[in-house]
Subunit: 548 residues, 2 copies
């Protein structure tokens, strides 16, 4: 009998760019197509998309793409993927709305977007998909039960077991119990918080904390969060209203998302609560709430520009209260702390995670993760969505609730998992890597280019240009030297002339007839030694000799 | 009457490079001269030293430098400072030992190092200094009572109120109470943990957690921590001994520190416990403990090289347990998590902060900070050692225990605080900035050079070299083009020739007689537009035209 293959193409061994492939015979089903935000050592990279090269010769086999929810790390790479692959997309109403905001122009018309609802049964080739509702930090999120010819696979998506969610719709535990009774072959479960003990607090606990902040603040209140955190936006609007404040939204994406979410009925807001950014500043400060993006300290975001005084129309200062209501994405700590310090420097008060409980995670903690495994009692367990340390920790939790170590697959992206009705094997790893998006370059910026950028950043660049006569082995005219990012520009009076002397002496020492490429190499080597001996520095050295 | 000036030159508005100046008439006293580690947006910078330009014309007034303890952020910049200034240094025995390890060659002989002890009374000009013992994550740390002509100033150094410290020597609360009875004019207190509620756990709690790890591990144990965390090293050695293991130290600085600390009596270790790195690998794995640096994920550290398989003699793999026993310096989260993931990839088990309590902070939490203020009841309060958000939060705590807001100075580096017997005023801010150390360059790498490096890192560099005849306004021969860190190197077949065409066309379009500098500028501009239009990229463009 044919085996079911499950291949994680993203999100395993990292946080972000979630994408999972299920393959049975000549049928492919895709779950999520997200992006990842670059880490500190990926300079110039806008974001990273999954490496889906594996699918390039299987385009005609893709029966569908099922999306679990509308966060960037689950839908962000769809515009790239759909340019290349023609497959129907299935998403819940709000998720579909968020995807539509992302798809531009022709693509929006071409793509076959289908709305699904929890409780639907969707048949795509040999796969029968049953989306069920889960709580997360965005409404309308689902997990998936997928009946395949070898058995039932459950993919949790991102989830938490919030019993008092803001939208009043808890995770569908009854459906999970029903899956369990049918018998679950494999569970793929969200590992993001597997090193957090206990239970993740309900989104509703925030209302209390936000209300405290609103009651105590006399001036304007600026709340920063993610543009897609629809339920957080709802909470802030509710708290603003009950405190006699109006709300303005700053930032295109958040404005578009709010409009779309209101239109689809996911935001319950009266018209008279909302003001434009221009109009709200005519109100007295104690009636003003501004919602904005930039909680990660991004310099070009609204909050980032407020902190550096670069926003065209808004200012922040004494009397204002800034609330950072979102978690700090790992790696952004420094930037976020700098943002907080800058806002304090401007005289405003800043409320952030360490001083008030104004954010809760959208992901299950250890006790919820164990609960999920205990409800479903799967034969096989695959921790997904997390760095290797999270996956490892999730595996430990699974063992604690009785899953045998040999029935757990802790794998990173690209490993092929093969399932029969009663077996799981970890197969070969398909080749793959980071696909960097930089400007309009998709994939053109490779790891070796990133390494070049790191070298440039570490010690700058020294470029030398000269005219060289190969026959005579002689320098013609004067060589030029330009540096960027090197301290030599500060000490140009001494170091630059000395470096030029090194260039001249190197050319002098070579024989007539030496080829121009070898002269370039010799100069590069001599300058390298010079800078290292002189200043323990290793700049990138570019030598360009022009034939004379 | 003369006023006392207190000028923080480092550590206020940042974590690191602590340095405070007290000035009375023509007398200067300095407390600590530390370094700071670079943040993510300071590429190529090794470390940062305080900007002590203010003291440059006051060298002959410096009565002494008093050091509170031996961590890098309190002693690290001494080798730089002492090259320029000739002033006696006062430090406790272990701190002095750590300073001696740092001072090389002639400097070590020249510098007047004096050993002080808690309880000593040191008179330096108009200042009478009384060091008192404090607990911190290093033994032999002190705070300072400084009697000045206008009153008693207390500087806590870095401290916590550990009632059961590893060395059995708690913070000298009786001395603090005595200061309080004399009347304290101003308290300068450690703000590092001012956003952490409660009380920092005792160092002793670690012994239990470490012992658990040692009992459960069957293979080798590798413990990573800071080279100067002498009390942590003691704890690991004690736990190793009681679990029948031997210990080897990896890394020059840690080896030197251990040697020095044993010699001075700060480490209590029998000879037969210690093995060399070569010899310990002859023992069976369950008898092996290796202590190393690299808990911050530094790629060139021992642990960093183990994780990437680049250590010359050591390997790490299945069966090994790696313990990261130190906190993650803010900004290093990403690097540390990558280290953990890599060690997991190698098959070893990793014990880190999220999965076991194997580190505690060396700094007081909120309740201890309030206790310190309540014991001393100072007239004026100056939060020190922390980012602005920490200083602000510490000020809120001080108000909670009854210090009036107007008697608290929340200031960043460089502000001149002036004290009389009954007043404190915040004066002007003296100019200052980051002094970057990069290789042997001290201060030569300016913020503008850092900005150049950032630009290079973001989009790479494109250099063009050409021969140009000014009279004819013509290009001679072929222009050369080299890129680094640009995706163009990947798509060289199309983009590079097109870019060269842009260069040729630009020269064609200019008039005969156009000056060579203007040609360079025109090409730079044209290429800039080309790359932006083509790929939304803004590389650094260097054009070097050679006169023909």
């Amino acid at each position: 009998m044919e085996k079911l293959q499950i291949i994680p193409l993203g999100g395993l061994g990292e946080v972000g760019k979630n994408m999972t492939v299920l393959e049975y015979g000549r049928n492919v089903l895709i779950i999520d197509v997200g992006i990842m935000f670059p880490e500190g050592d990926m300079p110039g990279v806008d974001y990273i998309i999954p490496d889906y090269d594996y699918l390039r010769d299987k385009g005609d086999r893709i029966r569908g793409i099922v999306i679990t929810h509308g966060h960037e790390d689950h839908i962000g790479a769809l515009p790239h993927f759909l340019q290349e692959f023609n497959a129907p997309v299935y998403a819940t109403k709000l998720t579909r709305g968020l995807i539509e905001v992302k798809l531009r122009g022709d693509l929006r018309k071409q793509v076959k977007l289908n709305t699904m609802e929890p409780g639907d049964i969707i048949r795509l080739g040999p796969f029968t998909i049953e989306p069920y509702h889960v709580c997360h930090s965005i409404p309308d999120a689902v997990g998936l039960g997928i009946t395949t010819p070898v058995g039932l696979i459950v993919h949790t998506g991102d989830f938490k077991l919030d019993h008092t969610p803001v939208d009043g719709w808890p995770t569908d535990i009854a459906k999970l119990a029903e899956f369990s009774q049918r018998g679950v072959l494999a569970l793929l479960s969200d590992s993001t918080n597997s090193d957090t003990p206990g239970i993740t607090p309900s989104e509703r606990t925030l209302t209390v904390a936000l209300n405290d902040v609103f009651r105590q603040s006399k001036g304007r209140i600026i709340v920063a969060t993610f543009a897609s955190l629809i339920s957080r936006i709802q909470q802030v609007m509710d708290v603003a209203r009950s405190n006699g404040r109006k709300v303005a939204i700053a930032g295109t994406t958040m404005v578009e998302n709010v409009k779309m979410a209101r239109h689809l009925g996911y935001l319950d807001v009266e018209d008279d609560l909302l003001f434009s950014l221009q109009n709200i500043n005519r109100l007295p400060p104690h009636q003003v709430t501004i919602m904005a993006t930039g909680s990660q300290g991004e310099p070009r975001s609204i909050l980032g520009r407020l902190a550096t005084g670069r926003h065209p129309s808004l200012r922040v200062g004494p009397g204002d209260t800034v609330v950072l209501s979102s978690h700090t994405i790992p790696g952004n700590e420094e930037t976020v702390h700098r943002l907080i310090n800058r806002l304090f420097q401007k005289g405003s008060n800043v409320i952030y995670h360490s001083v008030a409980p104004i954010h809760v995670s959208g992901h299950a903690s250890q006790e919820e993760q164990k609960m999920m495994i205990n409800i479903l009692r799967p034969k096989f367990f695959v921790p997904v969505h997390g760095e290797l340390r999270h996956l490892k920790q999730h595996a430990i939790l699974a063992q604690q609730v009785g899953i045998d170590r040999k029935d757990i697959a802790v794998v990173e992206n690209g490993y092929v998992l093969r399932f029969t009705q009663d077996s799981m094997t970890v197969g070969e790893r398909i080749p793959g890597g980071y696909i960097f998006v930089d400007g309009t370059w998709v994939g053109a910026v490779s790891q070796s280019i990133i390494n070049e950028r790191e070298s440039l950043a570490t010690a700058g660049v020294c470029t030398v240009s000269l005219r060289y006569n190969e026959k005579q082995g002689k320098l013609i005219g004067e060589p030029h030297l330009v540096t960027q990012g090197m301290a030599i520009t500060e000490t140009v009076d001494t170091l630059a002339p000395e470096a030029l002397k090194v260039v001249r002496n190197t050319v002098k020492s070579i024989r007539a007839g030496t080829r121009i490429e070898d002269v370039e190499k010799a100069i590069q080597k001599a300058l390298g030694s010079y800078f290292y001996q002189k200043a323990r520095n290793r700049p990138v050295i570019i030598v360009m000799a022009l034939a004379d």
